[in-house]
């Protein structure tokens, strides 16, 4: 069974009198353990699609089965719980809490699902270890480089053992070398921990790390093919 099953979802934004179709009946399924890249120009609907995929937004119509359960009609707090347990987010701008140590940033998702203080610290340290930042837990984001900050964000997405990581242009703010390091980390997590990784990117070099490329244009999927060349 596919981990993500999208059936004919549409998203319509109303801007006064005008209705804008951000997504037109998109259907897609992604299997557990896939590494997919979503590409497309601005306004193609890929961001809207990612928001729905990440349970941050609800589709106007259509169905979304996440691990076999329909989440398209869930309420705000139920969606929050799904995000907490099943989806790890990695953003272009890192989105770490300022003035808060790396370890506490990693602990953040566990604040909202009742993990005990003791267990939190242990799991956060383990997650930092996985991204190669053990020992940096007490640094604040401002004391870390961009690559390190993004790895703290990845550690945060791992800490609740979410089966899916959604990365929205994760290398957009990083230089080429650091980008490569971060992408290697995603590949490692994908192959070693069988985490489903879905990433949005403009860059073909970055998309090349994935094994499937989905292209959006004007709210439709225009191509969806496995990457053949390595």
């Amino acid at each position: 069974m596919a981990i993500i099953e999208i059936r004919e979802i549409s998203k319509v934004y109303r801007l006064g009198e005008i209705a804008v179709n951000a997504l037109n009946a998109v259907t897609l399924s992604i299997e557990r353990g896939e590494f997919a890249a979503i590409m497309g120009p601005s306004g193609s609907g890929k961001s809207t699609f990612m928001n729905i995929l990440g349970c941050l937004d609800k589709p106007t119509s259509g169905g979304y089965l996440l691990e076999g359960a329909d989440v398209s009609g869930l309420k705000r707090d139920d969606l929050a719980a799904i995000r907490n347990k099943k989806i790890g987010f990695v953003f272009q701008g890192f989105n770490l809490l300022p003035r808060t140590s790396a370890i506490e940033n990693v602990e953040l998702p566990m604040l909202y699902n009742g993990v005990s203080i003791k267990e939190r610290r242990g799991r956060a340290e383990a997650a930092l270890g996985k991204v190669g930042l053990s020992g940096r837990g007490n640094h604040h984001p401002s004391q870390l480089s961009g690559g390190q900050q993004q790895r703290v964000a990845i550690a945060r997405s791992l800490v609740n053992d979410a089966p899916i990581i959604l990365a929205d242009e994760p290398t957009g703010n990083l230089d080429t070398k650091t980008s490569a390091e971060v992408m290697e980390l995603f590949v490692k997590l994908n192959t070693e921990s069988n985490i489903t990784v879905i990433l949005v990117t403009h860059e073909h070099d970055i998309a090349a790390y994935s094994r499937r490329i989905i292209k959006f244009l004007d709210g439709n999927i225009v191509s969806d093919e496995p990457k053949t060349k390595t």
Binding site: D57, F89, G114
Partner: protein, 409 residues
């Protein structure tokens, strides 16, 4: 499940980030709570003083005054007609069931002499029951007895002020003082009572048997005449009945016809005092209410800052929502933050309130009483203010759209 200890920790951190701002916001609550505590302390102090003065007068007290004389159409004022007598006092004691003690009173101001010292003071000719009527005790010696009244014995009980002025450090018991040149033996000293509600020194007096006052000092137009009769009712509830019984009895004794006015007046002192006590309590309430307005203003300050804080931290709220914070996780975080602000402010406010009350006592000389009740009330109220004014900003934060919040710059 909501994680309270972690939420508290987060709140403290974000308050520390803006120390100046948090401090100033707290100041509003500090002033509010301080003002409430101080004002209530002032009010309670004032009503406590009134209460003390009332109880120093004696409780459940009635005062019977003679009526006014009318000479050629000119009415001479209360107490000018010599209508009350010892017989009236005795009759009240015997006939009125709701009365416990009766003490007649005949007196005046005159000079007393001891050795080379002299002093002008109020002489009160009365019976031993006066001590019960006024709830008065002796600090030393013994009171005069019924027998002394029958024999018009020349014995006296001076108050503390008189003792201080005549005797200094000498022991007054057994000494002889001269009142209008009549020698009286000091047999007891009245306990210190302090000021009356009207500000008179109650200790500046000498008690002597009423008969001695009538026959040896003041002389009276009619035998057995007295100026005032003081009556103690059996209880607070009996005061009204006693007033009625006495009025009826005295009308009968003075042979006053149905359509004639009384030739005496019964005054209920306790009721008058209670009215002033009541107004003291109302004043406390009023002061507290005015002070709580400043607490309210402090609360609005908290709300203002929390609204700013929510806007500033929109992105943080977005991040928290993305990683799974539910509506109440976000709400509680901001409510707890505002609660911490107001409770810390409240704690400092208690200190400020106590210090303020002490200062008023010292500088202005007002009696102030800081009651534990007013402290807990003000502190509790500051907590309520924190929750109340924190709720709207928290509610606003929880309604943010996570996508917009994450994009917020």
């Amino acid at each position: 499940m909501i994680n309270i200890p972690s939420t508290i920790k987060i709140s403290f951190r974000s308050l520390r980030v803006n120390k100046m701002r948090s401090g100033l916001t707290m100041l509003g609550i500090v002033i509010g709570v301080g003002a409430v505590i101080t004002m209530i302390a002032v009010g309670t102090g004032a009503s406590q003083r009134i209460e003390e003065q009332i109880s120093s007068m004696g409780s459940n007290l009635l005062m019977i005054l003679p009526g006014a004389t009318t000479a050629g159409g000119v009415r001479m004022g209360m107490g000018t007609q010599p209508t009350l007598s010892m017989g009236d006092a005795e009759a009240i004691q015997k006939e009125c069931a709701s009365v416990s003690y009766v003490a007649p009173n005949l007196g005046g101001v005159t000079q007393v002499i001891y050795g080379s010292q002299n002093w002008s003071t109020g002489i009160t000719g009365t019976t031993p029951d006066m001590l019960y009527v006024r709830d008065w005790t002796l600090s030393q010696g013994r009171p005069f007895a019924e027998e002394d009244v029958r024999n018009a014995s020349k014995v006296c009980m001076p108050g503390q002020t008189v003792v201080d002025n005549l005797f200094g450090n000498e022991n007054p018991i057994g000494q002889i003082i001269r009142i209008k040149n009549v020698p009286f033996t000091v047999i007891g000293v009245l306990d210190k009572k302090g000021q009356s509600p009207t500000g008179q020194d109650q200790d500046d007096t000498i008690f002597i048997p009423v008969t001695a006052a009538q026959k040896k000092i003041f002389g009276t137009a009619f035998p057995g005449m007295v100026r005032i009769i003081m009556v103690k009712a059996k209880s607070m509830e009996d005061l009204y009945t006693a007033e009625k019984e006495i009025t009826e009895l005295l009308r009968q004794r003075h042979r006053i016809g149905d359509r004639q006015d009384n030739d005496f007046t019964v005054r209920n002192l306790t009721q008058a005092m209670q009215a002033s006590e009541q107004s003291g309590k109302i004043m406390t309430l009023l002061l507290g209410a005015i002070a709580s307005v400043s607490l309210l203003v402090g609360g609005i300050g908290i709300m203002n800052i929390m609204l700013v804080s929510v806007t500033e931290r929109t992105r943080e709220i977005g991040i928290r929502m993305a990683v799974g914070a539910r509506t109440w996780d976000i709400r509680l975080q901001f409510i707890i933050e505002s609660l911490i602000l107001s409770l810390i402010g409240g704690a400092f406010g208690i200190i400020a309130g106590i210090a303020g009350s002490k200062m008023l006592s010292m500088l202005a000389g007002w009696p102030t009483i800081v009651s534990p009740l007013s402290i807990s009330l003000a502190f509790g109220f500051s907590g309520v203010v924190g929750i109340f004014f924190g709720f709207y900003p928290a509610y606003k934060a929880s309604l943010l759209d996570p996508i917009d919040a994450l994009r917020y710059e």
